[in-house]
């Protein structure tokens, strides 16, 4: 597609698409199209090679065994690491976030190597899952409004020195480390426990990814009425005890 302005890859929907993860791809696609961009979205199954020259890569959450299979296949493929070397942007969620790190605990209870694209290491928390609405303040260097999301995970992710927390939670658990951090980012690689359609609740994160990809400072405004209404409702809900 010669006239494509934005190439968007959704990584392994056959394994990592458990909590509405397609929503993140749909939101980026829609908001880019609303800015007049021609978007090519490529859904890459886990028996296919990861293209290395796309702009934005989205990787979602999943169950424990698919997470291990995804990590094995991504390590073998190597394409995601090459894409980041080429300057690509990665936005990863939950199981996908853990895979971006150095290692995580797999379904067999063993330590499984990740891709090392984020300086984080993940393990399992206690028996209690973190489930519910989350509210946090996003790293001020990113210039974004509050983070609103829904979490449903048992993971605990420790950040190393070169990873920055994506946000500090006011309500909810985030990285599960008890220090109030949620998610991580470094340069062009982002990870979060806010699963499913975190970009539907935080459309300006989607815009940030598009701006990084196009290397521009601003995008034309779009009608964010419904996003704003949803954000206001969910931010209020996060501050109420369940």
């Amino acid at each position: 597609m010669a006239d494509t302005n934005l190439r968007l890859v959704w990584v392994y929907p056959d394994l990592l698409s458990t909590y509405g993860d397609q929503g993140n791809a749909l939101v980026v696609e829609r908001r880019a199209q609303q800015r007049g961009l021609a978007v090519e979205r490529i859904d890459v199954r886990s028996d296919q090679a990861i293209p290395t020259s796309a702009d934005i890569y989205l990787i979602g959450g999943g169950e424990d065994r698919p997470q291990r299979l995804a990590a094995e296949r991504l390590r073998r493929d190597g394409g995601l690491n090459r894409a980041v070397d080429n300057g690509a942007i990665i936005f990863s969620v939950c199981a996908g976030y853990q895979i971006m790190g150095h290692e995580f605990v797999n379904d067999l209870g063993e330590r499984e190597a990740g891709l090392g694209l984020l300086d984080v290491t993940s393990g399992r928390g206690g028996a209690e899952r973190c489930v519910g609405d989350v509210l946090g303040d996003i790293d001020s260097r990113l210039g974004l409004p509050q983070l609103t999301g829904f979490e449903n995970h048992q993971g605990v992710t420790q950040l190393g020195p070169t990873a920055q927390p994506l946000a500090r939670v006011r309500f909810g658990h985030g990285n599960g480390t008890g220090d109030g951090t949620e998610g991580a980012w470094n340069d062009t690689v982002f990870g979060t426990y806010m699963h499913g359609p975190v970009l539907a609740r935080n459309p300006l994160i989607a815009d940030l990814l598009i701006k990084f990809a196009l290397d521009v400072n601003a995008l034309p405004a779009v009608d964010d009425r419904w996003y704003e209404a949803l954000r206001a409702e969910r931010i209020a809900a996060a501050t109420q005890p369940a």
Binding site: P13, G20, D21, G23, S46, E63, D64, P66, F150, W226
Partner: protein, 412 residues
Amino acid sequence: MAGNTEPLSPRSKLAVTAGRAAAAVSRAAGRGSGSVIGGKVALRLDPDLLARLAQHLDVVLVSATNGKTTTTRLIAEALRANGGVVSNALGANMPAGITSALAGGSDSQYAVIEVDEKYLAGVARDVTPKAIALLNLSRDQLDRAAETRMLAEHWREGLSSSKATIIANADDPLVVWAASSSPNVVWVAAGQEWKDDAWSCPSCGGVLQRPGDDWVCGDCGFRRPVPSWALHGDYVLDPHGSSWPIQLQLPGRANKANATTSAAVAASFGVAPQVALQRMYTVAAVAGRYDVVAYENRDIRLLLAKNPAGWLETFSLIDPPPAPVILAVNARGADGTDTSWLWDVDYSRLAGHPIRVIGDRRLDLAVRLEVAGVDFQVCGSAQEAVATCPPGRIEAIANYTAFQDLRRVVGN
């Protein structure tokens, strides 16, 4: 083996009586039918009551993510050709509700019992069923339910020692994985429109190849079994190669699939397909689902869809545009509090319909529809949504508690 000929033990009798008393109190207090509280009281007094109540009945269990209440009803109607049937027809599908239903069936021959997916293995162990119908498995309420593949694994372990005839959907790889540990399986090609929980081989984790209606794992060879029954268009194909027309009042492909499975179950009890299918025609609505209700000069069809697979099947049965569609979504306890599944549903299929959006989580739906690029109108109430639609048919699709809310509004 007709009816409960042997008397229950004094302890079981007491348990049944205490359960009925608790149910009566619950009803009197206006807290529903009382079947669950009654069953809980009875099971506490006699933990083996479920097994004892079932021992004189020919039991059929029905489990699935979607369609279990309807299929339970269809099988019950079919088996009534042979004898009395007791059933948890209103969908109280956990052990307490099942106990309560069985306690009401002292002179029945058959028990046709819907079972919640999570409880299937345990109930199958307790009641020694003759047949178990397995329809489909897909993502549902992930904030509180087990992971879908783990559920299939749980079924597989629980059913491996069962002597029941398993009647299972050959088109759902997770169901095939769950059933294929059993010695006695009747495979039914019932179809499954939703495929996004089974791209990964349940056996080895390889990627499933899906040429046409077939499926096979490229890595380990786990594949679709050869079905002996099939849904083919509007017909049931039986193992002898005969085809029988399906005539239902219930709409949609999914209900034809449910009827096909039900015909296979009925045949295992000696009810011929044409007899079974004729009896299924009498079912017009199931616990309010599919009911068409006259309200404010409109005919509102009430459709329940609780998860992505259910919504997908529902979209394929509604009237074409310009039929207006009301979408209602809540996220209360019984619905699951996580709304991310809205993003697994392809709402662009509603393009061309006037769409009205209601329910506690109408703003989640609004963003979802905005991103899908379809027009919609957010309304504050069901009354307001109906008032904005022209007289005539309205398709109302709602998830669990939103459906109950809607029924109350339209007086169903």
